[in-house]
């Protein structure tokens, strides 16, 4: 019984057939799911980025402002709309409680998206495709991003960042 001491010699009790089969399957499965991750890094097209730098929030803010100044093409809801060229470094700023700028991208082109926060932790969730990354103050996280669908997308913040958290929604346009 599980509440009494086991029979002496319990260590040498042989496994039954069902147990042996199941443990073998379980071990092989765990090896498989472990190897799947490096496999996808080599052969897959969606991976978490390994490019990141530490950065001071004020310095990041200055870089974002410069980026906006360089590529502004318009404005919406008081937020600048910015159209960076293909292959460019583009900068998204998270702060309590807004995302800026609004990015205007081209389908099939690759960009370097920088993510950082001016204050607390935030997270970028691109709706409706459901792509999610953490946005951390003091860290510049660089994703090499290629939109494969066109249309209007939103950025929803999904890391709790205070009372205005649920209103923190931004926008991305992808033109075909």
């Amino acid at each position: 019984m599980s509440v009494t001491s086991p029979q002496p010699g319990w260590w040498s009790t042989p496994l039954h057939r069902e147990e042996k089969i199941w443990i073998t399957i379980a071990v092989l499965w765990c090896v498989f799911i472990t190897l799947a991750m490096p496999w996808w890094h080599i052969f897959g097209t969606q991976n978490s980025s390994q490019e990141y730098y530490t950065i001071n929030p004020d310095d990041y803010g200055a870089v974002v402002d410069k980026f906006i100044e360089q590529y502004t093409v318009g404005e919406e809801a008081g937020i600048p709309v910015v159209a960076p060229p293909a292959g460019a470094d583009m900068f998204l700023r998270a702060q309590q409680w807004m995302w800026d700028p609004i990015l205007k991208l081209k389908k099939g082109e690759s960009y370097r998206l920088h993510l950082s926060s001016m204050d607390t932790l935030h997270a970028m969730s691109i709706y409706p495709i459901n792509m999610n990354f953490e946005v951390v103050p003091g860290w510049d996280y660089v994703l090499t991003l290629t939109p494969t669908t066109s249309g209007e997308f939103n950025i929803i913040c999904n890391e709790f960042c205070g009372i205005g958290h649920h209103s923190m929604i931004g926008k991305i346009y992808v033109e075909s």
Partner: protein, 41 residues
């Protein structure tokens, strides 16, 4: 412990196989969902 043939846990084995099949299916399905996302790295 020694088990007689009729005492072997056949039912549990079937249940764990159902569990495993569901696991594999749902796992592979999610990789497929991931592959439909924008390219990112």
């Amino acid at each position: 412990m020694d088990l007689k043939p009729e005492e072997h846990p056949k039912g549990s084995f079937i249940l764990i196989m159902i569990f495993f099949a569901t696991f594999v299916l749902f796992y592979l399905l999610n990789w497929k969902y991931l592959s439909e996302l924008w390219l990112v790295g």
